[in-house]
């Protein structure tokens, strides 16, 4: 599904990714762990086309298409979803209008008719239940005044609405209490199918108790320095990143 080949990327002239290689297939969950400043969030930003970052070399193929040539919205419509580490507050834009625009632009891209207002509201009700999202929140402006936990639930709600094939969860566990963590993780698990894949970026092992990865990669200083199965995350938790970074 996703092929990253020797990816280099920089921000403001500073190189952050220094040759990342990664293959993700349908049905897989990949965890990317690593110390602060290793480039974890840069990777998610580059994959989604954040204009702040510059790809200096390398290739990324998504379902056989050259991802790096696509603008951010096309990547999204092709099925890449990012659960933001810091979801953005957009005062004055209601969740309902935002999601209706998102769902219908994706449908148009797929050659489908837009959902009517009634169909859309019904669809939204179904998806809200996946992350136990309060009705009040969807009537408010996007993320405005949401608590940390509500923002992350809202990300997973949007994921449910848009049904991506590849979801990237960037530090989704940061700032979550244990109940929200469980709800968010269960939401992600409910959305998992043999046709979808996930990249879970996290600093801690905690989230991986709930979202169990098939592969764990350690990203350090802009490169993947070690890959293992879920037991690697437990080892890292015990011994810290020094054990791999120093090798």
């Amino acid at each position: 599904m996703l092929e990253i080949k020797n990816l280099h990327a920089s921000i403001n002239g500073k190189e952050i990714l220094k040759g990342v290689n990664l293959s993700v297939h349908a049905g897989e969950v990949h965890a990317i762990m690593g110390p602060n400043g290793a480039g974890k969030s840069t990777l998610s930003a580059v994959l989604t086309g954040n204009p702040a970052y510059e790809v200096t070399s390398g290739e990324v193929w998504f379902k056989g298409k050259n991802l790096l040539e696509m603008p951010p919205e096309q990547r999204a419509r092709e099925g890449i979803f990012l659960s933001f580490q810091y979801p953005v507050e957009i005062p004055g834009v209601s969740m309902v209008n935002f999601m209706r625009a998102a769902v219908n632009e994706k449908r148009a891209y797929e050659g489908k008719e837009p959902l009517s207002a009634t169909e859309f509201l019904k669809y939204m009700r179904e998806k809200k239940s996946i992350v136990e999202l309060d009705n009040k929140l969807t009537n408010r402006s996007v993320n405005e005044g949401f608590s940390g936990g509500e923002k992350k639930r809202n990300e997973i709600f949007q994921m449910a609405m848009l049904q991506p094939s590849l979801s990237i969860l960037d530090e989704t566990d940061s700032g979550l209490d244990i109940d929200s963590l469980r709800i968010v993780a269960e939401g992600v698990n409910k959305l998992k199918t043999p046709q979808t894949a996930s990249i879970v970026i996290t600093h801690y092992q905690r989230l991986l108790d709930y979202i169990v990865p098939d592969f764990v990669h350690v990203l350090a200083d802009g490169q993947i320095v070690k890959t293992g199965d879920k037991t690697l995350a437990l080892e890292l938790e015990k011994h810290g990143y020094e054990m791999v970074v120093k090798q």
Partner: protein
């Protein structure tokens, strides 16, 4: 010559100005209310002069303006609010969105006379510039001679929030749709002040205008 409008004691006057140049002088007498809305939503350049003089106590004046300019359009708004006597309220909210090579100009004179105590006056000017060639000039001028008053003014000119735009694009919205939603949100604060009767038709004009501007 300014067109003179007098609002007599206890009366309320609602004025809606759409797509035109005007030169107005409004005199307010005791306990009268002025609700003035200015919209510039087509291609015509305009010069809008609004003078409000509160000559009686307990008056309230609200001035709201929304300018959506593009092409080589030039829109200037000059407000001049004078509180001659005390206990009055004035609230001004003026918003400009400038695309292409358009120019916006706001000058806001606000005067509170020496014996006009307990006046509450607010002037806010917020602008979004969508292109490098569009220009906004803003000049608030406050003259306050009374000592027991509440007066505030704020002016800011910026661009659309890049982070919000990227967030929306990541959900599959085209840049145009994302800009349009953000600009509608920007306009909504002015719309909130508008009477229900006119709300829908103005909103339609805003939609049409933004569809052209937010590409």
């Amino acid at each position: 010559m300014s067109e003179l409008i007098e609002i007599s004691k206890g009366q309320t006057k609602n004025i809606l100005l759409l797509n035109k140049s005007v030169d107005l002088l409004v005199n307010q007498y005791d306990d009268s209310q002025l609700n003035l809305h200015v919209f510039c939503l087509d291609d015509s350049s305009a010069e809008i002069n609004i003078q409000v003089r509160q000559l009686g106590r307990g008056c309230s004046a609200k001035i709201n303006a929304l300018v959506l300019a593009c092409g080589k359009q030039e829109v200037g708004i000059h407000t001049n609010v004078v509180h001659e006597v005390g206990d009055g309220i004035s609230e001004q909210l003026l918003k400009f969105v400038l695309a292409d090579e358009s120019k916006g100009n706001f000058r806001g004179d606000l005067k509170i006379a020496k014996d006009a105590q307990k006046v509450s006056a607010r002037q806010t000017n917020r602008n979004i510039v969508l292109s490098d060639k569009a220009k906004m000039r803003t000049m608030p001028q406050l003259e306050i001679y009374a000592d027991d008053v509440k007066a505030s003014h704020g002016a800011s000119t910026g661009q659309l929030d890049e982070q919000a735009l990227f967030y929306m694009q990541q959900r599959g919205l085209s840049v145009g749709t994302a800009r349009k939603l953000l600009l509608k949100a920007f306009a909504s604060e002015v719309m909130e002040q508008l009477d229900v009767a006119e709300h829908d038709s103005i909103e339609q004009l805003i939609e049409q205008r933004l569809a052209r501007m937010a590409i």
